[in-house]
Symmetry: C2
Subunit: 180 residues, 2 copies
């Protein structure tokens, strides 16, 4: 079965973006070693991405070209008029239902790119298998939470961790008792 | 100069309590080794606590006896009618101003017990020197944030970290460029 994985960075107080949804605090963080924080290694384990429509719009603003051209990319939206592009297919059905079916298919794993609302709905449905979180040594005080609009109590297992010289902490969690 | 230290546990998505302010997810977390997560060692480094009035009320509910009888304990409140007790002194002046003076005094360090609003006001004023955060391998989705009501971008340095067999992660951060 295909796994759904979160791969994301958060501030050390748990925000994935500042209050205005901006990520300059993240993209501007010093990276003297030029590490990609395991990104290309991670990307090789997945063949599909799941993207909320707000995050998709942010990606189009941030990137000149769509960054995952060789993956199957699903963008979740309630707007029925959006047309598929060369790279992405729009999904108008409930995300949890769609992803539950998707996981039954063959192939590599699935990257839940985000944002918070999509993450929240899949977490609540018990569909998130692994999380690779990069905790940046920065306090924001307020912002967009990792999971939006849910209220749960789900235990994960810390599989491994890595500390970069910049103080960035890479945490790899696996869901305990995944039953989907 | 006395340092102000945060010593607190958060869920892995950054909440210090659930949406109703409850911490059963934390106090009920399995602890087969019976570790105190460095608590008594930490307590020996401080002689003063700073407590917001809501947190103080929670402490009185959770503990039969006030848990820091041998420390100097300040409780911050806007209610001028509260009377000092055997263990705590109420502070009615702005927290940042009070703590800035307190740090000039002699003695051991200061524990910023919390909660979120007091943490936020002292963070914003640049008065937090160190943070010892225990990241529990639990997702809550929503709750009370570590710092309340602020919007900042402050870099910290990861001094050291420790992983417990339960998957709890102890992170020790120091403020970069503390100038107070």
């Amino acid at each position: 079965m295909k796994k759904v994985k979160v791969y994301i960075a958060t501030s050390l107080d748990g925000w994935i973006a500042d209050k205005e949804g901006k990520i300059e605090w993240l993209t501007g963080f010093p990276n003297p070693e030029g590490t990609d924080y395991g990104y290309s290694e991670f990307l090789a384990t997945i063949d599909t991405t799941l993207i909320g429509n707000s995050t998709y719009k942010d990606i189009l603003i941030l990137s000149e070209e769509f960054p995952y051209p060789d993956k199957t990319n699903y963008v979740f939206t309630r707007n029925p008029s959006l047309q598929d592009t060369k790279y992405v297919q729009f999904v108008h059905t409930p995300a949890a239902e769609f992803v539950r079916e998707l996981k039954q298919g063959a192939g590599a794993d699935i990257w839940l790119v985000g944002g918070g609302l999509l993450n929240g709905s899949l977490l609540e449905a018990g569909l998130i298998d692994e999380m690779i979180i990069h905790v940046m040594p920065v306090i924001l005080g307020d912002g967009i939470p990792l999971f939006g609009g849910v209220n749960v109590n789900i235990a994960f297992e810390l599989l491994r961790h890595k500390v970069y010289s910049s103080g960035v902490l890479e945490l790899h969690y696996k869901k305990i008792g995944q039953q989907v």
